[in-house]
Symmetry: C2
Subunit: 208 residues, 2 copies
């Protein structure tokens, strides 16, 4: 169930997008430098945790100065690979698939949705992006060098479409179906688990 990358644990890696997001907000507000103490107050992680996390990648602060927000954001951008760009498809062109295909925030992270796929025929283009038939999936992935597939099909279909995409060359799967896809070697899977999150909300509401 867990991934790792070199000696860096998944839990550290999952905090990097959080730092990235807060740094972006600080930069947007005109903040040029920040201490790990202030970063701690904003993120909720302890200052020593933050220093430790960043030291995994070389550390970017300076004693007595703290972090330069723009420099640190640029470094984390490189760490996260946001400077790269991936040809991405969405499999499942229902409402959720359409919402994702249209969302500009994902494009800014380097995931360019270049096509959608659906078992239904004749779905209109989504913001100028073509919806193709499932039988064209493998050919399209090979020809367009698609590296990432976002899966928004029902649970019953998700394992099958993921296998087809991976066999055709996809290396990254972002899965919204309520089913834990396992990643074969050389492939990365992020399972979103919206239902699990909702059940956790339910638990905490019951126990308020």
């Amino acid at each position: 169930m867990s991934k790792s990358s070199g000696n860096i644990s998944e839990i550290v890696i999952r905090r990097m997008p959080v730092y990235y997001r807060y740094l972006q907000e600080l930069i947007d507000s005109g903040v040029e430098r920040i201490s790990s103490k202030d970063l701690s107050a904003i993120t909720g992680y302890s200052a020593s945790q933050i220093r430790q996390d960043l030291n995994n990648f070389g550390g970017f602060g300076q004693q007595g100065y703290g972090y330069n927000t723009i420099d640190l954001k640029d470094q984390i951008e490189k760490i996260l690979g946001i400077d790269k760009s991936y040809n991405t498809i969405v499999i499942g062109a229902g409402r959720l698939g359409q919402a994702i295909a249209r969302y500009k925030g994902f494009r800014n992270s380097g995931f360019n949705v270049i096509s959608l796929f659906d078992i239904k025929d004749g779905i209109d283009d989504i913001s100028g992006i073509k919806v193709r038939k499932m039988e064209d999936l493998e050919n399209y992935i090979e020809e367009e060098k698609v590296e990432v597939a976002i899966i928004t099909v029902p649970r019953e279909a998700c394992e099958d479409v993921a296998k087809r995409a991976i066999d055709a060359g996809v290396r990254g799967i972002w899965n919204f179906a309520p089913y834990d896809l396992e990643a074969p070697s050389g492939v990365v899977v992020e399972n979103i688990r919206l239902n699990d999150s909702l059940l956790t909300l339910s638990y905490f509401m019951k126990n308020l």
Copy 2:
């Protein structure tokens, strides 16, 4: 950043929906009982971890027998509060809000979407659910005893609409905006953080 409930840590609570999901699949496949060892093979958590997790809520297994899948699922259903039902609204009737309002899986978990809200006027009903104007938000929450708000507005608007919903009586927020909402006392917030997940995918793909 972390919630807790009595002495049970959030990390344990977040595993309960996973057990629940796998038990549902086992039951659907006709499996009546399962050992913690076999449950470990399916979920990826260790057998002792599973026993420990369930012991937090009283333990439901029997030595030498394992767990009755239906009994255990029923127990977890009660633990998670799925036997309860909540009047729920979606704030933000864009593609994502519409996808969520239509998704039957959430309804099965006890979250009944009874209305959507949007700043735009004149959006058609979504599968028979009315889209209302934002100025009616507070009155509607009070009159219909709305307990949960699902937020799918842009980042800039999310803090403001959450505050309005909470002030009017909402106790649970499921937030899809890329912004960490903090929960005031007596309110539960689940931040979904889709962007963070995508950046994690990006990291692992870069480091494949």
